[in-house]
Amino acid sequence: MENTNILLAGVGGQGVLLASQIFTSVAIEADLDVKQSEVHGMSQRGGSVTSHVRFGEKVYSPTIDPGEADFLIGFERLETLRNVHCLKAGGTIIYNSMRINPSTVAAGVAEYPGDVPEQILAFGEKTFLVDGLGLAEQAGNTRSSNVVMVGAVSSFLSLPESLWESKIKEILPPKLVDLNLKAFHLGRAAVKNS
């Protein structure tokens, strides 16, 4: 079995690391080898964040090279575009349509490109757009859009639904479990239906 490489890309504060944690704990529970890598230090200050998750029979490198990702999960549209070249030929892009201005754009020294979705599509790979923010709101809290994205990706992976549910119950604080299970299922259904 080839390893599965998932690259998560977003903005500090969006819960990219929590989403990574759900992937890694599901993989370990499924008796797979798994590695995850990110660089922290500046992540809480609104900077770009990427996290690499790899699982399979045996994983050596904790990082995914450009052109090697099976899945690119974008938590924000610009960060998705910034990382599209990391996708392998035939890979899948699943991204949250929300927009967060970088500090340079907020300060008026750079422009947020207007054609990000078009540029992502132009890469010519399978692309799924998820209304992460809208579905999270529907689930009950806009902050659960990271778990919406986990749900969206889960429908592409042959791992049992119950495994995902049990790990979400384990990882999230008890009072947020129901809301995040809802977010997970909304994300999972969103991709299935598109």
């Binding site: 798994v34 990110e38 090279d65 500090s103 907020a106 750079a110 540029q119």
Partner: protein, 586 residues
């Protein structure tokens, strides 16, 4: 019974390994990528752990603990070893009682550092062994081995990680704690621990002897492992590069070094003799390559293909060794960057907004406020190392002498944790030598950039107990500085007025800014709002660089909006608005 497994980062695994190996005391100073080691050690009640004001103090606390007979951990980032180098080089002479490992977390590619020095050089320089793991299981297991080596050879051990080993997670099989049999008890042994010339002269030959014994040990230790495969290519590697090599070249023969100083000469020669082409793949300096060259071994490729700078990866190694590359589409061009910025509500924002306006030369330091160097604020004009801002500022002011030009005046800016770390001595020098510079101490009661760790000003210890909070204004006054003023960082006029007075003075002035970190202490006020009728879209408020603000367009109408979920209600943007368009939230 199945063994207990967990997915741990290298840092979490080191903390676990330390607990399992019976360590009793741990000390360190926060620094990426080392910080999470002590943050995890503190959760084990069998270990006493503490943050110290700097790395030198951490190692000295560790030396004391080792002399008393306790197994000991000391942690820091790579540049921290520079600060701790003084005790380290003589600790090499005294040796240990309880085993001691000194974690040096290096940062190739400088994800969060000011240089990418390769601290394996310190092992050679201080004549102590270096150990490097390549995944989290090894990070845990090598701790016990390193402590055994420390005690067996009577030496501190440099335990080197890199960002990728410290911050990558992989599966670890856990073990149980083994208490160490030796008693923790002070025993006087002056020839070993009192390093006067007379005793140091007797210790030095023992250090040289120790390295020879460690060289012999290096030949047989399980830390150095040969994995023979195809003999066309043989690779000598270490740490995270081993993982990249296994991924990229699964059939190659590999000599994986876990004890990376001193090197096993015979093992290396034997391995080199069995392969057609020998590659040395090591991030950082040509540390192995230089030593192996001196051994007279023929190296096919090393630093000619694998640079001194930056991290490697599996694809990079495959490309360099086999010339095979994966087709990669071009990355999207000309995207706006997303650098980190001051948090909404951060007390540093107003300070740097005014420093920029005053056009002074800002001598900076290391912490969150270093973000003041990034655009659009761009108001930090020098930054070298921890604690240097005040001493560099003093040097600049002395070299310039007196000037009425604002851009020839210096303001040194330092945070509380960095001031305690090594800024206090700089300030003492400034007042002692009659400096006419201005120093600002931005006291947010935490070590912010590394995630909000406790420090001597926080009033809490690493373990969360109440502690005495150092009083910075009292400390500064005790140095003899008469001009100590406080400013409110959320009142731009107050900052500007008082800074002008400070800059006009012929005597040293210290400006103390007391404002707790909004992120660490979760401080938030109602969000501000923009009156769209008054806003002209002039973008003046955007220059304070707050991620809560953005410019919106509605046809020809341009106006600023404030994200109520991000705004912390600090009011700095409202003060720069010339049209009174930004109002306080309710």
């Amino acid at each position: 019974m199945s063994e207990e497994r967990a997915i741990l980062s290298g840092n979490e695994a080191i903390a676990r390994g330390v607990w399992e190996a019976g360590v009793k005391l741990a000390a360190g100073y926060p620094g990426t990528p080392s910080t999470e080691i002590l943050e995890n050690v503190k959760n084990y009640s069998d270990i006493y752990s503490e943050w110290t004001p700097n790395e030198k103090v951490a190692l000295e606390v560790g030396i004391g603990s080792s002399i008393a007979g306790a197994r000991t951990l000391v942690t820091m980032k790579h540049v921290g070893i520079n600060v701790a180098a003084d005790p380290l080089f003589t600790f090499s002479y005294t040796g240990v009682n309880g085993g001691l490992i000194l974690v040096s977390a290096d940062d190739p590619s400088m994800h969060s550092s000011q240089n990418e020095q390769d601290n394996r050089n310190y092992a050679k320089f201080a004549k102590i062994p270096a150990i490097e793991a390549s995944d989290s299981q090894e990070c845990k297991d090598f701790v016990a081995i390193a402590l055994d080596i420390s005690e067996k050879f009577d030496t501190p051990v440099l335990y080197r990680t890199t960002t990728r080993t410290s911050h990558s997670k992989s599966i670890v099989t856990l073990g149980e704690r083994k208490e160490q049999p030796g008693e923790v008890k002070l025993e006087k042994n002056m020839p070993k621990y009192t390093m006067l010339p007379v005793s140091a002269k007797r210790r030095h030959p023992l250090v040289e002897e120790r390295i020879l014994k460690l060289k012999e040990f290096a030949e047989t230790t399980e830390l150095n492992r040969v994995e023979m495969g195809d003999t066309k290519v043989g690779i000598i590697t270490n740490g995270i590069s081993y993982q990249y090599v296994k991924e990229a070249l699964p059939n190659a023969s590999v000599l994986k070094l876990g004890l990376t100083y001193p090197l096993p000469e015979n093992k290396i020669k034997d391995f080199a003799g069995k392969v057609d082409e020998l590659f040395i793949i090591e991030e950082g300096d040509a540390f192995f390559e230089d030593q192996i060259t001196v051994m007279g071994v023929d190296i096919a490729h090393g630093k000619d293909l694998f640079p001194l700078e930056g991290e490697f990866s599996a694809a990079f190694i495959k490309a360099q060794v086999e010339g095979v590359t994966v087709a990669i589409k071009d990355a999207a061009a000309d995207l706006p960057g997303r650098p980190p910025a001051f948090c909404p509500g951060c007390s540093h924002r107003g300070i740097f907004t005014i420093l920029k306006k005053l056009k002074v030369f800002v001598s900076g330091d290391i912490g969150c406020y270093t973000l003041g160097a990034l655009p659009p604020i761009s108001a930090m004009h020098a930054c070298v190392c921890m604690g240097a801002s005040i001493s560099m500022g003093h040097g600049m002011a002395k070299a310039i002498g007196s000037s009425d030009e604002m851009d020839q005046k210096v303001v040194s800016v330092i945070g509380d944790s960095t001031f305690f770390h090594s800024g206090m001595t700089s300030l003492l020098n400034s007042i002692y030598n009659k400096s006419n510079s201005v120093a600002m101490i931005l006291d947010n009661r935490t070590t912010g950039m590394t995630g909000g760790q406790e420090n001597p000003g926080s009033g809490k210890t690493l373990g969360g107990e109440d502690a005495i909070a150092a009083d910075i204004p009292a400390l500064v006054k005790a140095f003899g500085i008469k001009n100590v003023i406080k400013i409110d960082p959320y009142d731009l006029k107050d900052i500007e007025d008082k800074m002008k007075i400070a800059l006009a003075s012929d005597e040293m002035t210290v400006v103390v800014v007391e404002a707790p970190c909004v992120l660490r202490y979760r401080i938030s006020h109602p969000a501000y709002t923009v009156d769209r009728d008054k806003c002209t879209g002039c973008k003046q408020c955007l220059k304070v660089s707050c991620n809560a603000l953005s410019l919106e367009e509605d046809g020809d109408d341009k106006f600023v909006v404030i994200d109520p979920n991000m705004c912390a209600g600090c009011g700095v943007c409202a003060q720069v608005c010339k049209f009174d368009a930004i109002g306080e939230g309710k």
